[in-house]
Symmetry: C2
Subunit: 191 residues, 2 copies
């Protein structure tokens, strides 16, 4: 039968995204994605010409929602800028308690696909990271934090470092240590 083509394509992408994040882009084959999306492999290859473009589409699709979730975990705290950033790291600590959490999908994909010097994938990841860094810079600037570009970059480093440590140790106290560091760095720059 023939459904609306955009709906089918979206169903494939949704299935791929779920599986890629849960198991990793290398560990998931196109057969499994097709089965999960309830389409034949032929249909899958009708909408995506190879697995790599499907991976790229997966990461592109993650950009907006991940960015929105990060921003929301900051802005939902109605307090000072330091309280807000603290909330960001405590959110990571809570997420790390779930076995379904696997850190940043962009960093993970880049790590998995390093062997091929896949410029397409790493540039999508870099674009996403830059977007969040720039948003942080603006947010810090509008809260009278000095040198917002530098502090935003340092916060990005703390974010990805906390994620790595949380993934290795599964110990939420690393989120607290990161939050504490972030607060100290911001406090050193308030006028």
């Amino acid at each position: 039968m023939r459904g609306k083509p955009e709906e089918t394509k979206r169903r494939i992408l949704t299935a791929a995204s779920k599986l890629f994040y849960a198991k990793g882009v290398r560990a998931v084959g196109v057969d499994l994605i097709a089965a999960e999306a309830e389409v034949t492999k032929r249909t899958l290859y009708h909408h995506f010409d190879c697995k790599d473009t499907l991976v790229a589409a997966y990461l592109e699709a993650q950009n907006e929602p991940v960015l929105a979730a990060l921003i929301k975990s900051i802005t939902r705290v109605s307090g000072s800028i330091t309280d807000q950033i603290e909330g960001l790291f405590l959110t990571f600590g809570k997420q790390a308690e779930s076995s379904r959490w696997h850190g940043c999908p962009f960093a993970r994909a880049v790590s998995e696909l390093r062997e091929f010097e896949n410029d397409a994938i790493s540039s999508i990841a870099a674009k996403h990271k830059r977007s969040f860094e720039e948003w942080l810079s603006c947010h810090l600037s509008s809260n009278e934090v000095d040198e917002p570009e530098l502090v935003a970059r340092q916060l990005m480093i703390l974010v990805d470092g906390a994620i790595t440590q949380l993934l290795i140790h599964r110990d939420p106290s690393y989120a607290k240590a990161a939050a504490c560091a972030a607060v100290a760095l911001i406090r050193g720059r308030v006028t």
Copy 2:
């Protein structure tokens, strides 16, 4: 012909380590390792009963030299504690210029093997990270830095965060931002 068994085993482990770090543990097959070590696959399986134990042996073998290299990049700077930690991050920035650098082998292996809840691998990685964190704590303590455990943990987070950002962006200015953050965090704790 029959050489000394330890020598052959070491040759296999050396070949595996080189390939695992260069291409990733998932991307390298046992056939390639056997060829690189100039042994037959039969001989490889005589010394290691499966690929996973070879991966574990690879990580175990990396523990000491990686730790030694990290400590050396700190202690070779004859200056203040802040100068020394700055040296650590600038070393990462230099290494990131090489296309043969792929960050921390432990974080990378854990990332690649997340799909299997491989406790053996992640516990080796955790042990290594704890070793370095503890060394940092002692080094900070003996340099009159307050709350050395907390600061050591924050430095660990900065280290792995800087590595992630360097791998994604390939921009050494992230190493400088991390160094700047580390210095600020330590300066806030000197008595």
